[in-house]
Amino acid sequence: MSIVPPGAPERYQGLPGGPYTPPTGDRGSRILSPFRAEGARGVWIAVLSTVVFFTVIGLGVVSSSGWPQIKEAFFDGQVLADSFGKIVEKFGRNVLIFMVAEAFVLLLALLLAVMRSLQGPVFTPLRILAAAYTDLFRALPTILVILLLGFGAPSLQIKGVPHSDIFWAIVALVLVYSAYVAEVYRAGIQSVHPSQVASARALGLSRRKTLRFVVIPQAVRRVIPPLLNDFIGLQKDSALVAVIGYTEALRQAQIISAATFDFTPYVALALVYIVITIPEARFVDWLVARDQRRRQVAGGV
């Protein structure tokens, strides 16, 4: 079989080894699979050892002396069935909070990152402003900003400014997360090689169009995984809004837990978070892989 990958530049084709033969079956595509070298027998051993390992641990936990109490306090089927619907319903509010916040975070953070990347003495005040902003909001605990704005801003009763505490709690999340995400974007912008900027400027593109068409698209592609990191952080921190008395999913779980003297509602909420986060991570993996596939020769580079 030839070592020359399909689609490789012509100069490599026809090298010793004869014409390229694509791998048969799906083994060729599972380069990272731990089963690859061992074949079908390896798969069976892996499955068997995994099942045995976790069964032993599971039996050990379940047969331990404290298990009945733990089960009742954390995994009560009846409480779970009663509370799950309510928690999921209130989780809709969290979804709204973090989706709205994320939309603004992505915009505000990009603005901050661009401000901080501007070159030339004229832009010094903007650079200082952006740097001070990120320093400030990365230093403050998120919960503090939520308390400060969520209780503080509505109490001022200023005309023309919303009095809703949840509005201000979302503002607090946007302010804090923009600081983090701005740094992610900035790292991406700095990772774009200066020769790319030179190329675009040489075509006669203005600074702004160079940023828009050449720098930012490449920067964003590179930072998609860390952006997801911060998005998951924001998703989780939407629960902090509970501290200003807003009944979202965590608050709801707390209320049910207090009424039933049982922690199962918290476990139910934990499950909800896990169930929505894992597909997101896989989605981003898929996005990154698709981008690479599209841009690069399979197996090459």
Binding site: S195, A198, L205, K209, R295, Q296
Partner: protein, 252 residues
Amino acid sequence: MRADGGAALVVEGLYKSFGRLEVLRGIDLSVAEHEVICVIGASGSGKSTLLRCINLLEPIDRGRIFVEGDEITARGVDVNRIRQRIGIVFQAFNLFPHMNVIRNVTLGPMEALGLSRRDAEVRGMALLERFGLADKRDDYPDRLSGGQQQRVAIVRALAMQPDIMLLDEVTSALDPELVAEVLNVIRELAAGGMTMVIATHEMGFARDIAHRVCFLDEGVILEEGPPERIFTDPKEERTRRFLQSIIEAGRM
């Protein structure tokens, strides 16, 4: 009437330093319409810097540059407008990796010249066809060979319909067997009357294509003249030694 007698490009007393390093120390150069000039010289002699200064990618310290009689180094000129008239191709191709070939080629015409997408694509496709790249229009740069990438980079610059092309060692990053396809493109441009300033290490190519060869040494043009004379009977000792080292390296 223009004072420069119709030169496409005039460089007058150009100085450029990076910190304390003086890279260009008084360059005077005049390029006529349709003329092809090859700039030769050792690494670090200032060839790339000269080309980058002509395109205003590097701010110059002293001197003046005229394109078609207009001073482009004057205060308050629109740098973007000037760059539209001067195409430059880099050693490392510098294609935009997130755009396919046709987007690479149409970006400048659309966003700098304001052409519609359709007009820019018609223009871009005509050029891609001319240089045998039409079937690559939807490919991303990473899928192309170095020679193909460099040809796309040349097409990208040509799509702006520049008055002058600057080529900065465009074959230096290529595998030897891919050099010819790029040089042939440049030959075709020269035959078509494109005014070009070419920094190159390909002496055989320079001898073939140049109307005039300039030997750049320590930031000044030490010697210039028709290729037949520069390559066979250089006046300056340094030129002779440079050419000797090239011959010894088997590059000529």
